[in-house]
Amino acid sequence: MHSSLSPSSVTDILEVDDLHVDFELPRGRLHAVRGASFSLGSGESLGIVGESGSGKSVTSRAIMGLLPATTARVKARTLRYGQHDLLDAPERVMRRLRGGEIAMIYQDPMRALNPIMRVGDQVAEAIRAHEPSLGRKELSTRVVGLLDAVRIPDANKRIRLYPHQLSGGMRQRIVIAMALAANPSILIADEPTTSLDVTVQAEILDLLGDLQEERGMGMILVTHDLGVAAWHTNRIMVMYAGRGVEHATTADLFEDMRMPYTRALFDSIPRVDMPPGSLLKSVEGRPVDPSNPPPGCAFRERCHLAVEICGTTAPPRRQVGSHWWDCWDDQEEKSVK
């Protein structure tokens, strides 16, 4: 039927093409995002991975329209959600999308919760924000239903507790329940488990993966840990110094990391199969200064493959199917099928 279109281009609910975000600060202009491109189909999950300061959160906040209007300058070839052009949607529309269609959860569950309000009431408030006409009975059924959905045992009892009476993992479940209140079609999870304990981390990531599948939601998982993205995404975009530098399906990426930074990120993850005393292959050196990004490839100072041209001219984008990466090094291009 639609043989000329790739399947994903038919169902993409979110499309981001060449996103740029600058901040106009008293001390000058800061280039936080300098070219990020990806799309998200409904029911798909995308990982945005990169080191601290690489522009992951700014990218997600640009989608949500949550950047400070006074200082942020957002530009893009395309920034679209469904039929909405997010670049010039009126704030009224953005507010509706934010609450209902695109939901976001953050790293620290404590910050998203009101410390002096019972968690049940907070979930109820999140539901009522979208369905003001709901009766009391119905509302409390919905609250308990949502807490069940995020696998909170004894939901009936726990709704009466305050955030500080819950463990970190339980708190994050409450935050996820609130994000699900309006049945969003996209859930953006910005480092959702960084502040949690390892056993709980795995549980929360599994929960997010299950919910995303059950509900056919699109999910964007923002993380600095390629290992976390490995498990819970269909596709990954790696960012470095504000730029998307490699993008592929998760399977393809782990099969064949092309941009040297992606490989370096992978190598810096400690693995349990490493013997005690092993040294990690860390990316030495410092990230580039976002107010003064160098010409050429931003990664070159930390790259073991760098040659002269990397310092003068931006690397070409190489593409094989949906896998693309920016790099001057092409020795292995022929090996890709």
């Binding site: 080191e51 601290s52 045992p153 463990s167 970190g168 949690l196 304990d197 390892v198 056993t199 709980v200 981390q201 795995a202 990531l205 600095h224 840990d225 390629l226 290992g227 976390v228 490995a230 498990w231 998760t250 399977a251 782990f254 064949d256 490989r263 370096a264 990120l265 992978f266 190598d267 810096s268 993850i269 400690p270 693995r271 349990v272 199969d273 490493m274 013997p275 005690p276 005393g277 092993s278 040294l279 990690l280 292959k281 860390s282 990316v283 030495e284």
Partner: protein, 358 residues
Amino acid sequence: MTISPGAAASPPDTPPTPLLETTGLTQTFRLPTGAEVQAVSDVSFVLHRGETLGLVGESGCGKSTTVRTILQAPPPTAGTVTFGGIELTTTPPRQLRRLRRRMQLVFQDPHASMNPRWTVRDCIAEPLQVHRVGTSSSRNDRVHELMDLVGLDEGYLTSRPGSLSGGQCQRVAIARALALDPDLICFDEAVSALDVSIQAQILNLIARLRADLELTSIFIAHDLAVVKLVSDRIGVMYLGKLCEIGPAESLYRSPRHPYTKALLSAIPKPDPRHPDRLRRVNLRGELPSPTDPPSGCRFRTRCDRADERCSLDVPPLQTISPGHQVACHYPLSASAPVEMTPLPTRRANGVVGQSPTR
């Protein structure tokens, strides 16, 4: 001034005394509600000079409290702590304060442990000043030496902590902890808040310092792969109890306590092609309340091996093989390894070298 490992090395003919030994260490807190929490319960272990002990376990199991209790802040409710041959629990406060300079702590949030108005130089020099070590010019030399040691550019001498990245700030915290040549350094989640790239740099720094300075340390982190990387031995805690302690390699290869096994199998592997996810041993149920821990073995409510005996008798920590102890009535057999086979990766898989032998 140079950096010397352990200040008081024992003469060659006496058997090596451990730097640190705890016996029956217990810390009970009384909550405002009147309930009591045994945050640390009957924990005994030894730590030899030059050795690093990793402590792992779920949030709230008592790792931080163990370390703080060793440093007598606050002193234990019961049990003893012997440090360099001195019994700390009966040491008068004045002498204890002097001993404290030989034991240093590095925390998770480096920004919080530093005065934002100070410069990096002030932060690193503070312990030297407080303990009136050297002259102002020798202290200054020492600050430079320490910055070099932790890989901080001298350009940062006059920077304020607020303008440093998390990784740089943690380097300052480590330099500060090293300033007085401590015998023992405790790292409490010192790399947990850092992103993986920076974490790798700091872990490599710690590995280097351990080798070069023969540091003795206790290393707490919730990431089990991280702990394994830097530890000689590892202790696993559950609800205030030490349930297993043993050499890092063998404990990970073949855990003997069911809880250790469950913890290890919860580690996400950084590769989607790894088949382990399906084989994860899920901990059933929730962590019991620390104010009302289960009788007998505290882990029994979540253990699939538990029977009546486990609810009656507290399993003692027993030696199961040399240097390896486990507190379980029904330990796993040594031949039941957790599946952790490395994947065939296309290129080098991250291990670039072994630390020099100590």
